[in-house]
């Protein structure tokens, strides 16, 4: 088991370096004056320009610049936002919990509903339910989620007035950000109705963000379950006189979940991409919205290191999923 984990960690390191190389290269590729790009200031006179180049290390050879960059990263210096002058890391860590909360809610929604729908669809293959689940999931991942969000807002927020249109919580409430998770913080605060309000704000964005993962998980669970139910060991289980429930849920599901787990892990990437769109629509103050605004405002330090942070996040999650997969699937564990 340890060698399995060690091997996976070994793969992490070059990937991390590769991503830093990517973000480093990305920023260097922006057309225009590098000082302007880095500092956001234009038309400096030649002397100030030269000084700035010196200070930013822009006249050093590229590989030296790269090592400087890595050095800074190792010290936790991710630069400053051009707009707010706050540290990039500071802004990221302040906004990240919002995205995390949204993503977890979306994933829970997608996971629970998707698994359930997939298992039932597989058990009732060819029925109305099965066709319905397949149809809805196909529509689910064919749909532009920003449009889906707008439609739901149109219907539920504007039309029926059930949910609010934007934000995490009503401005009337003053919640102290202890954990950054609105649902938890509102429970700690003594404001009446704050928790419910936070929940109301969370529902629609979570559904929108979770729609594509829901579709993918439902489909994957169904096909995985169908494949597993055809396997010989299911026949053996039935030949042992086990109850149908036990055959499906103990013998079948355990094996069916394995490929689904990989898919769920891969959905994290989709979630982050979707978060960008969802946060924009619902004005949800997370890192997705932060990144898009930075791009629009040409706040390049934020863009560069924001992308780096997000990439690292995705890598970490994939790593954890890989490890969990090893736990779930004994065959992989013992492999070379």
């Amino acid at each position: 088991m340890f060698s399995f984990i060690a091997r996976r960690v070994g793969l992490l390191i070059p990937t991390f370096f590769g991503v830093t190389l990517l973000t480093f290269a990305l920023i260097r590729m922006i057309p225009g004056d590098p000082v302007e790009v880095m500092m956001g200031e234009r038309r400096l006179d030649p002397e100030m320009h030269a000084q700035a180049m010196e200070r930013l290390g822009l006249n050093k050879p590229l590989y030296e610049q790269y090592f400087d960059y890595i050095g800074k990263l190792a010290h936790g210096d991710l630069g400053e936002s051009l707009r707010s002058r706050e540290s990039v890391w500071g802004e990221f860590s302040a906004l990240f919990p919002a995205t995390l909360e949204l993503s977890i809610a979306a994933l829970m929604f997608a996971g629970v509903l998707g698994l359930l729908a997939g298992v039932i669809a597989a058990l009732k293959r060819g029925s109305w339910f099965d066709h319905g689940v397949m149809g809805i999931s196909l529509a689910g991942y064919s749909m532009p989620i920003f449009w889906w969000g707008l439609i739901l807002i149109m219907f539920f927020s504007v039309g029926l007035g059930w949910t609010p249109v934007s934000g995490r919580i009503d401005l009337l409430f003053d919640i102290e950000p202890k954990t950054g998770f609105m649902l938890i913080d509102t429970l700690f605060s003594d404001e009446d109705g704050a928790f419910l309000d936070a929940l109301h704000h969370l529902i629609l964005p979570a559904i929108v963000l979770g729609t594509i993962p829901l579709a993918v998980i439902a489909r994957m669970t169904r096909s995985s379950m169908l494949e597993v139910l055809r396997e010989d060991y299911i026949r053996t289980a039935r030949a042992k006189g086990l109850s149908p429930a036990r055959v499906v849920f103990v013998h079948g599901l355990r094996n069916a979940l394995i490929p689904v787990l990989t898919v769920v892990g891969l959905q994290v990437g989709t979630l982050l991409a979707g978060a960008v769109l969802t946060e924009t629509i619902f004005s949800w103050p997370g890192i997705g919205k932060w990144l898009i605004e930075a791009i629009g405002a040409r706040d390049y330090p934020v863009v560069q290191n924001g992308i780096l942070l997000i990439a690292c996040l995705v890598i970490m999650v994939n790593f954890v999923v890989d490890i969990l997969y090893g736990f779930a699937n004994p065959r992989i564990r013992h492999q070379r």
Binding site: P14, T15, G18, V19, L21, L22, L26, I27, M29, I30, P31, L138, A139, Y141, S142, M143, P144, F146, W147, W148, L150, I151, I153, M154, V158, G269, T270, L272, A273, G274, V276, L277, T280, I281, L291, I292, I295, G296, V303, I307, I310, A311, V314, I315, N318
Partner: protein, 303 residues
């Protein structure tokens, strides 16, 4: 013994149908796929003949008819079947023009990423020790970022617009082709017919492109179809974020960006462009599913 008694002359063409006939027969069994094909044919038709099919000029603003509802609602007008937007432009014409853009983006991004992707994948598969690991590491790094974010990053650097959108989407789809081709190639390389070709003296280019590649086409075709549909979605997303095709060009996603403010007043401006995206992508995905089902079983039988 047995066969001589049942002496009916069997139609040879039914016994050994051409691969195209077999494929079409399998494909046609999937009703969803056929529906998808029909819808896409409609879209392609609109795209090709847009200037003649569209009732109006997509950029013409009819100042007297701002935010007209679609014809079946109160206040609708037969002149503007699907209504008009906030600048009085006919929605139907804009959607038809938009189909041109979406198909163009989809097609060009697929072609631009398919060719290098397949070539890289071939090399990675044929040289698993020399080139393989390097190429795959690069692909893994590209895949470390969610595709939309990478596309956003690329567009952030290159600047917004149609061409950069195509480039960004092409770059983002590259890794899947490389991975797919490499996996397929490595599977085929262990087969006897490749060894036979090698022994017969086939040179590397011939081995790659004539011997092995045609047998890897099936998953590639399916992937290309799915890339096409995600290209449309990504292009729309970029347009919506203001990073892709810029207004007033009627890309479906870009149309939705300006429609946000009209949720309460003019739902059709919001609903219809998105609906077109949904139906197009759905149609392509259905076709892709049908393609996979029609091509895969053949693979299984041939094995």
């Amino acid at each position: 013994m047995n066969t001589s008694n049942t002496a009916t002359e069997v139609d040879q063409s039914l016994l050994y149908p051409s691969p195209y006939k077999e494929f079409w027969h399998a494909f046609a069994q999937n009703k969803g796929a056929v529906a998808g094909l029909l819808f896409m044919s409609l879209i392609v038709f609109c795209a090709i003949f847009a200037p003649w099919v569209a009732p109006h000029n997509p950029s013409e603003q009819y100042r007297d008819f701002l935010l007209t509802p679609p014809v079946w609602l109160e206040g609708g007008n037969w002149q503007f079947l699907l209504g008009t937007d906030e600048l009085g432009r006919d929605l139907l014409s804009r959607l038809i023009e938009g189909s041109r853009l979406s198909l163009l983006i989809g097609l060009s991004s697929v072609v631009i990423s398919l060719i290098p992707g397949v070539i890289l994948g071939l090399f990675a598969g044929f040289f698993p020790r020399l080139l393989g690991p390097g190429i795959m590491r690069l692909m893994d790094i590209m895949l470390a970022l969610p595709s939309l974010l990478l596309a956003v990053a690329i567009v952030a650097i290159l600047g917004p617009g149609l061409i950069n959108t195509v480039i960004a989407i092409a770059v983002v789809s590259l890794p899947s082709y490389v991975r797919l081709t490499r996996a397929a190639v490595m599977g085929e390389l262990s087969r006897d017919y490749v060894t036979a070709a090698r022994l017969a003296g086939a040179g590397l280019p011939r081995l790659m492109f004539i011997t092995v590649l045609p047998n890897c086409m099936a998953p590639l075709i399916v992937q290309a179809t799915l890339s096409f549909s995600s290209a449309i979605l990504d292009a729309a997303a970029l347009g919506f974020l203001g990073l892709g095709v810029q207004p007033p060009t009627p890309e479906w996603g870009t149309m939705l960006a300006s429609a946000r403010d009209y949720i309460e007043r003019a739902w059709w401006v919001v609903t219809l462009p998105g609906l077109t995206i949904l139906l197009s992508v759905l149609a392509i995905n259905l076709m892709g599913d049908g393609l996979r089902d029609a091509l895969d079983p053949k693979l299984k039988n041939a094995a």
